[in-house]
Symmetry: C2
Subunit: 711 residues, 2 copies
Amino acid sequence: MNVNKTVDSDAAPNPRNLIQQERSSAVFNPDLMNYFLEGSKERSEETKKMIQQMERDPILASRSNYYDLTKAEQRELTIKKINRLSRYIESETFDEFERRMSLISVFDPQLHTRIGVHLGLFIGCVRSNGTFAQVNYWALEKESAFIKNIYGCFGMTELAHGSNVAGLQTTATFDEENDSFIINTPHIGATKWWIGGAAHSATHCSVYARLIVKGKDYGVKTFIVPLRDSNHDLMPGITIGDIGAKMGRDGIDNGWIQFSNVKIPRFFMLQKYAKVDSDGNVTLPKMNQLSYGALLSGRVIMVKDAFRWSSRFITIATRYGVGRRQFQAANAKENDEESQLLDYPLHQRRLIPILALCYAFSNGANVLADSAKEANDILESAVSNDDKAGIDHGIALTKSLFVASGSLKSTCTWLTLENIDKCRQACGGHGYSSYSGFGKAYNDFAVQCTWEGDNNILGMSVGKQLVKNIENVLNKGEKLSGILEFLNDSSKYLNKEVVLNIDDLNSTEKILVALQVAIIRGSAQCLKTLQAQNDNWDYIGADLVTLSKLLAHFFLLKAFLDKVKTMGEGDEKPLIPILDKLAKLYSYTAALETFSGNFLTYSVISPDAMTYLTTTRIQELCAELRPHVIPLTDSFQLSDMMINSAIGGYEGNFYEEYFKIVNTNNPPENDKAPYNHLIMKMLHRGSYDDRTRQEFSDEVAELIDPELEDS
Amino acid sequence: MNVNKTVDSDAAPNPRNLIQQERSSAVFNPDLMNYFLEGSKERSEETKKMIQQMERDPILASRSNYYDLTKAEQRELTIKKINRLSRYIESETFDEFERRMSLISVFDPQLHTRIGVHLGLFIGCVRSNGTFAQVNYWALEKESAFIKNIYGCFGMTELAHGSNVAGLQTTATFDEENDSFIINTPHIGATKWWIGGAAHSATHCSVYARLIVKGKDYGVKTFIVPLRDSNHDLMPGITIGDIGAKMGRDGIDNGWIQFSNVKIPRFFMLQKYAKVDSDGNVTLPKMNQLSYGALLSGRVIMVKDAFRWSSRFITIATRYGVGRRQFQAANAKENDEESQLLDYPLHQRRLIPILALCYAFSNGANVLADSAKEANDILESAVSNDDKAGIDHGIALTKSLFVASGSLKSTCTWLTLENIDKCRQACGGHGYSSYSGFGKAYNDFAVQCTWEGDNNILGMSVGKQLVKNIENVLNKGEKLSGILEFLNDSSKYLNKEVVLNIDDLNSTEKILVALQVAIIRGSAQCLKTLQAQNDNWDYIGADLVTLSKLLAHFFLLKAFLDKVKTMGEGDEKPLIPILDKLAKLYSYTAALETFSGNFLTYSVISPDAMTYLTTTRIQELCAELRPHVIPLTDSFQLSDMMINSAIGGYEGNFYEEYFKIVNTNNPPENDKAPYNHLIMKMLHRGSYDDRTRQEFSDEVAELIDPELEDS
């Protein structure tokens, strides 16, 4: 009998030791690896400072009780956090605040979204569509950029129209006599729906509505409509309701809004492009302003999210898999201890590819973000210098990024949603506890596959670009640049020659070529089907989405390999062999194995190579990476606050930690349910005969059954 | 302007009409189709009667407010429902109550589980392991079978040992002097964990503990341990806590239990097999009693669940996809209306295969259930007649079913979890509303992949049976019967001959053969890898799971085709062509497309056939089934109460219905948040300079900056 912290009749399992052992035998420095993941030493250090600040913040930090809050409690806490964040905004740069938001997105996504609707969507809408004076008034003079006086919501989506902006049905009819617009919801289907912040917080809304002047419909424009006065009372003609419970992100007060002939001054229409003067003359911009840039930034954030979220959950599952013992290995001897979960080949195969994916995500997210910034800088400087060639170059860059980011947003969010659930399943029953973190995360993340461009719609549009571009290259001799440059070689690869044989699998460069070839042959096949189907693009929708996924993997693998190539000797040297293995495993699993049907159908890989890959090579590579999994997850440098999981903390002492968290949040001294009387009444309810007044008894039957009476 | 129910300035969308139109042009009778799904006319009618009874029951029926309940409210409501159900038990047959439970599992799974722990696990454990007197005492004399006096929980899982029963560490030490057992939890890792009913309801626990007599460990046996007295106060030595929040099924009061040297009489050990007499003599049964039967029944239920749950969610997504218009089709003319979602080929491809899968599930579930019952009857009658040959036959049948059910449980629960989320994503943003039903369902269902045998563990064990059996057939000339009979032909198929060319795709019989061949070639490949890996079965874990999935599809497709073959002329005739298409689509998508890598690697299908299948044939078949989707989902005959979705009701009037549900559960007259004062304080918090006492101002800088002072 051991007496230590508690009295134990037998030795308790010690997952901590197992994890610490692997940590102490790391062959590389997780700090240096973190520079690789964050993009540079400076970014790594900036990120850590910010996490430190937030995990010490009494309001902002997440704790285990986060998983026990009701919807009402989540909403209140989220406003407290927004209030707290509003103080940070007052004293930090835009870049700093952006980094802060990106981190908040991992440990409190509903906070990220709720504040993001005001700062990103509402103010962003005013900035994109408003005149200088309008931006100055609503964002700065009223100080709404610091979350003061005005809280905005973003009135785009309608009940019967989600992502189809052109089809929205709210109207803004010009009333010449009063120099006003009348905003109206014509029917239930045009009710603004899902509007974050509308139910409780918002004072104003940037409303997407059809501009109607003198009976003519000019299409959808944006208008600022006050919803609540400074006492937070609803303005007349405004009806607002609460959307209620959601699958996740219950901390956001999504609402619905109906406008019943609400009058706003003409100058509340955002008039940077389309303008209406007091006589009802409408000026429209010469070309439709494509706000690629604004859409791009949302996607950049979501690819970064994919990296951080996947990192968070693979860290939990990996630590659990190393610390947990269960069953004996098939080749164990009789008295061997039970095996660590992650020593089972299948468990390795379930988790280590996700770890490799995280490493691919990190670089892809960095490259995408840097390229978006670069394109934006080029465009801005060209515009301010009136440099036509520079503008064209900037636009071409942005368009290319738009394709890349579309494929990455959809592919990476889908994969991340899968990763969260795969990691949960790998933690067995304990993955089902709220305190392990998976449940709420799955629910919170799920919407990322739908918003900012439904993944299938995005995937189809990316695939369409691929097919159109390959047609231009093949039939019109066009030359492409940017992400799709490789399509220039299409004609060379249209035959059925095999690109990957067994010996080629060791070369990630060859696999990168194989991805290009798969995209080329797939696009060419689409073109063929399309012609057979009278150019009905909808018909090949599923194939277009597949092409988009392949393109995302091409981008991620290329970014990964490019980055490793830049790595020098010195300190970074020990990282390179590990990174090589990760890149390889990523390309084997996320690309070749997942799309094995495509690679085989298009003869990009030989059946023998595929057999070798799936039966042997992937498993071998997982085994080679197995000793490094703890240092590889430590390298994400997510603190316990960021991870917020009862079974995934750094220390690895997860049985005790989990037990403590369960007991702190559910004190065992409350040993009876609040509804205990109901249980007692049920269990001690008396006999059936008594309760039914003996009416169903033989005695009563004898009394009242005429047949018995007769007999 | 229309004045009807409301004042509309414009015509509202009318999804109802679209759905009703398709309903009215059905080419078959959904009632007859329901007989196919339920297995017979009688079962179909029985099922409907039961649903009618429950949807009218004021306590049992689910409503939209179900999605707004807190954990505390869910738990209380669940006990109210158990109380109500306890009255049904008093007056119906076992079969009736089983059917009732199976239906409850669809619309209130946490109720199903919470009551199931007592009736199925606790009483089941007493029945399987107890003597006649023990069963009679605890189940009947104390009336716990009617949920009276005693409420049982099932004490198997421990914190550090989930599914590995042999590794459990709770001890039951015989105390000869007092003719008692001492039940003890030796350390934190042996704490009983996840115990459904322990936190609030249970009075007794069937505890799995190591039997220790005179210092010798006899392995894990079962013991009845009272937890709470008739006042519901905890017995001494018993510590119980609440597990707290879970990913789903919060209506269940899962708890943890620690035993600190708790003394129970010797005759509280369940002694049907292992016995301990008062002198401490231990008698063990000659062979380990494999309770295949008990495990089998859980799996049968879960395959049925897969059918009903998938049916429920595909019904919602289909109705929404038919009633919702969004965007214009690629081949639309300029003034065409927006297209119905389900008229887009990609949308068809996302949903119609799930519909086909439901039809495959239904039959598979029926065949599995009937076979299990048959095997059980054969075994019981053989045992009571002491018929050795009959016993052998019964055992062989049961073993074969054990393999089939293992592959079906794991494969069907995985697919159902995927189906729920695919259907959610197909409903866009509205799929994310709790009131659409997907969120809670995903969370509730997720655990089915983990409990009653983790899917990966089950899959591996099924795959292992396949590989072992193929070895026996190939190397030892063994002949198999039952589900694995087709392996007898293995040697014939081990070459690389292609089974499926383009022309063969029209024959589901050929596809059934192709599935057999894929399993045979895959198993043979496993055998090869296994030999190269020194018989380390763990190494081929991933491939074993794949084999198990293929076996499940073989079983489901075979059951489907067999059933259709039995269908006569008469009334059923119009169903046959539709069912043929469904079987085909099921085999194309769930088997051939999903496992395309395997089918191609093993040359079971030609690359040309695969290209034709994925680019053209599947899409064509979806289009052929498209007109029938509403009648096909109506055929599930799930009433609105069972579906409980704001966007999936029969009437199809989903915008109005959804709006009404949101408003009923979140009355818009509550126009301010309970925490409104926090919002006001934030927005009107005064200037930064005032709040920081002007300390950061230039004026103060001038006063206290020595440099400024010097200058």
